[in-house]
């Protein structure tokens, strides 16, 4: 995609909101996370570090806000009057929500982040100039900036650990923004294999690293266009519609029996990740 092409087809790359005029053709990757099943074990986060060549920055840089966890587990406490203050934590895995109308996309001065045909919010490291506007405009704070040239200056992968880096993912250099990609390297492989066989990607054929690592199967991932996919069925059952900023079920009296919700939906970001509310008390 040249810059000429970008300017000529501006509307293709700056999608304002999901519309019926420009529907997704074959794939719309989406996720649903059942918080009732999430134990906060952090396996998803670790898997993400391994899959996507994320540098473990260490305690000091972490405290400066230079962390690189594309997927983080957020902790919430609801009850103040507990015997032990730390008891009853609720966990929420938070990653890039792959918004349909992503606030990060509209503020990038160089078009380094834009929408793909599959409904992903892409980040192109080569084009990124490091303005960090996207991070400032992201309501989920799911974007991470490379403050250091981690592979060379900060010794995050001491030898022979550089051997474990994933060759399908770039090792990012200093000064670029990065974020969860829904493991686009796996999606590309699955799509290519499917295409050779003249079919669409089957449900369950491709897993994200976090989904694969989750011991309780809290994360499901798939194609929202395919009505038979697990994700599409979950979204359907929870009556969460991708292109709505207010879900019809929330207006109905019994609607709150359905657990599905999307975070900060009212900001009209149209996120692609649906969470299923936690019902049971946390064991921890």
């Amino acid at each position: 995609m040249s810059i000429t092409n970008l300017l000529q087809n501006w509307s293709d790359f700056r999608q304002q909101h999901p519309s019926d005029e420009r529907p997704h053709q074959e794939y719309k990757w989406a996720m649903s996370i059942d918080l009732d099943l999430c134990t906060g074990c952090n396996a998803c986060s670790v898997a993400c570090y391994a899959e996507n060549n994320l540098p473990a920055v260490g305690k000091e840089k972490f405290s400066h806000g230079h962390s690189h966890h594309w997927l983080r587990i957020e902790r919430y406490w609801h009850n103040e009057d507990r015997e032990y203050a730390d008891q009853g934590a609720q966990f929420l895995p938070m990653m890039c929500q792959q918004c349909e109308a992503a606030p990060c996309e509209t503020v990038c001065p160089v078009g380094a982040t834009n929408h793909t045909a599959d409904g992903l919010n892409s980040q192109v490291y080569n084009r990124c100039v490091g303005s960090r506007y996207c991070n400032a405009n992201c309501p989920y704070k799911a974007r991470y900036f490379n403050w250091y040239d981690y592979p060379t200056t900060a010794d995050v992968w001491p030898a022979p650990m550089e051997q474990q880096l994933n060759p399908d993912v770039t090792v990012r250099g200093k000064g670029v923004m990065e974020k969860c990609t829904f493991c686009v390297q796996r999606l590309t492989v699955a799509k290519s294999n499917a295409r050779t066989e003249g079919r669409s990607v089957h449900d369950g054929e491709v897993q994200t690293a976090c989904q694969q690592a989750c011991p309780t199967g809290a994360i499901s991932f798939g194609n929202l266009i395919d009505p038979e996919s697990r994700v599409a069925k979950q979204w359907e059952k929870q009556q969460v519609k991708l292109n709505h900023d207010k879900q019809a079920k929330d207006a109905v009296h019994d609607g709150d029996k359905l657990r599905g919700y999307r975070i900060l939906e009212n900001l009209r970001t149209y996120p692609s990740v649906m969470y299923l509310e936690q019902l049971r008390e946390g064991a921890i």
Binding site: T4, T170, V171, V184, T188, S192
Partner: protein, 201 residues
């Protein structure tokens, strides 16, 4: 007064911006050949002898006889030494030539030939041979050497392969923007993917 000034400044800026875009758009995407560096290989492999036209003394071997992974993998693959020996142990006429002697030295030492990469894409690029071969060779039924030659140049006239095409993004895009028929018999055309993440990883 100031308002007019501001307006004129704005207009000048706008014209300049539009003009620069227009100038940029007028430049054709590069499709010109751009010779890569000469890569010294351990054995000076004669592509022309193996794949060249019969009239010029070539054997017209299909590219994918040796680069066998091209149709089913991201990478085309360099043939294992076994593949070279498989044919050459029964070709007595060239058995004593210097290059074949060297080849058998590697074979007897049980060492692979340390071929060097000629078409090396940057690490941030995801390129898939399979997709291109499936489309151009199997769907469109183009001759193999022509399809491979779009990116690899006229290898059948070279001895040691040398990069002939720029392999730059603009050059890739120049082809991806063209309409290509979906199959040999179909009149339907599509163009290549135009999505950053298709090629950038």
């Amino acid at each position: 007064m100031y308002r007019f000034l501001r307006l004129s400044v704005l207009l000048v800026g706008l014209i300049a911006a539009v003009g620069s875009v227009a100038v940029h758009a007028a430049q054709p995407l590069t499709t010109a050949d751009d010779l890569g560096p000469v890569v010294d290989q351990p054995i000076e492999f004669p592509h022309d002898r193996h794949a060249g036209d019969a009239a010029k003394g070539g054997m017209q071997i299909n590219c994918m006889y040796c680069h066998t992974y091209a149709r089913r993998s991201n990478v085309a693959g360099i043939p294992p030494l076994q593949k070279c020996i498989g044919c050459h142990r029964s070709i007595e006429s060239v058995r004593e030539t210097p290059r074949i002697k060297k080849l058998f030295e590697y074979w007897e030492a049980k060492k692979p030939v340390p071929w060097k990469k000629v078409h090396d894409l940057p690490d941030f690029v995801r390129f898939n041979h399979e997709r291109h071969i499936q489309r151009f060779v199997f769907a469109q039924e183009k001759p193999v050497q022509e399809a491979c030659g779009y990116c690899h140049g006229d290898v059948k006239t070279m001895t040691v392969a040398r990069r002939q095409k720029p392999l730059s993004m603009g050059w890739c895009v120049s082809c991806h923007q063209k309409d290509h028929p979906v199959s040999a018999t179909s009149t339907k055309t599509t163009h290549g993917p135009n999505d950053c993440w298709q090629c950038h990883k």
